[in-house]
């Protein structure tokens, strides 16, 4: 990995923190009265952070291998656990740590296998990508 790649890897991880904060805002909105000022504020932040994430993701993946970028997305599991503990006082158990490790390994393995074999990427659970994939056949 060269210096340029490393720079974008850092950008990617800053972006993934931003993405994880959108879930924090969802959680904060969830305790507010529907359509109250604070609800709208937090929900607005959710949409703003997701839009920011989608825009920056498009730019960052121009500079990093796509598989590698998708594999790194697994870190959002760790951020959610961390924010959960720090902001909302959630408890972590051994079983949860084991479960999270399995999910992270699964996401990384999925991403690594997605591009290697088919030349296309179908990962990503939010509509954050508009890049054209190969392999589409039924239009």
């Amino acid at each position: 990995m060269n210096k340029e790649n490393r720079k974008f890897l850092i950008y990617l991880h800053i972006l993934l923190v931003v993405y994880s904060l959108s879930a924090v805002c969802s959680k904060l909105a969830s305790v507010e009265k529907f359509l109250s000022f604070r609800f709208c504020l937090f929900y607005g932040l959710v949409l703003f952070l997701l839009a920011l994430y989608a825009l920056c993701w498009q730019q960052i993946i121009k500079h990093l291998p796509l598989t590698f970028a998708y594999a790194n997305k697994a870190i959002t599991v760790v951020w959610a656990i961390l924010w959960g503990m720090l902001i909302f006082g959630e408890k972590l158990t051994a079983g949860k740590v084991i479960g999270a490790v399995f999910v992270i390994c699964g996401i990384v393995l999925y991403a690594l296998n997605d591009v290697e074999d088919s030349g296309s990427v179908s990962t990503g659970v939010k509509p954050d990508r508009t890049d054209d994939e190969g392999g589409a056949s039924d239009d």
């Binding site: 479960g99 399995f102 509509p127 039924d138």
Partner: protein, 116 residues
């Protein structure tokens, strides 16, 4: 797990499912040719996809009333199942052994997390 926890977990799972559908719609829209840039964004598929996406954000807020924040990305990992299913069924993508093992790891992880 209590009933309300189950309901909230179900909300997040359903939200993840419908947001996978919105992905398929965006992909379908991206594969089509449009006469103008405006039509590329303002067409039923794209507008429908973003409407579903907005609905899924409301569903996750509803879900977070009952489930811990840390459980969000764990349950959202189910999206990999739907995306794989749609990828194979609709877009003719290939399923390989690595992906199957990856999906198995995800499901084991979700179960372990939910009961851990």
């Amino acid at each position: 797990m209590t009933d309300s926890l189950l309901f909230c977990a179900f909300m997040l799972l359903l939200g993840t499912f419908i947001s996978s559908i919105s992905q398929v719609m965006l992909k379908k829209a991206a594969d089509k040719h449009y006469d103008s840039a405006i039509k590329e964004y303002l067409n039923p598929l794209v507008i429908g996809a973003y409407s579903i996406f907005i609905l899924s954000t409301f569903m996750s807020i509803l879900a977070y009333k009952g489930i811990p924040l840390s459980m969000g990305p764990i349950l959202e990992a189910t999206g990999y199942f739907y995306v794989t299913f749609f990828g194979v069924k609709i877009f003719g993508e290939k399923l390989n052994r690595g992906k199957i093992i990856a999906l198995a790891l995800i499901i084991v992880g979700i179960v372990a997390y939910s009961f851990g």
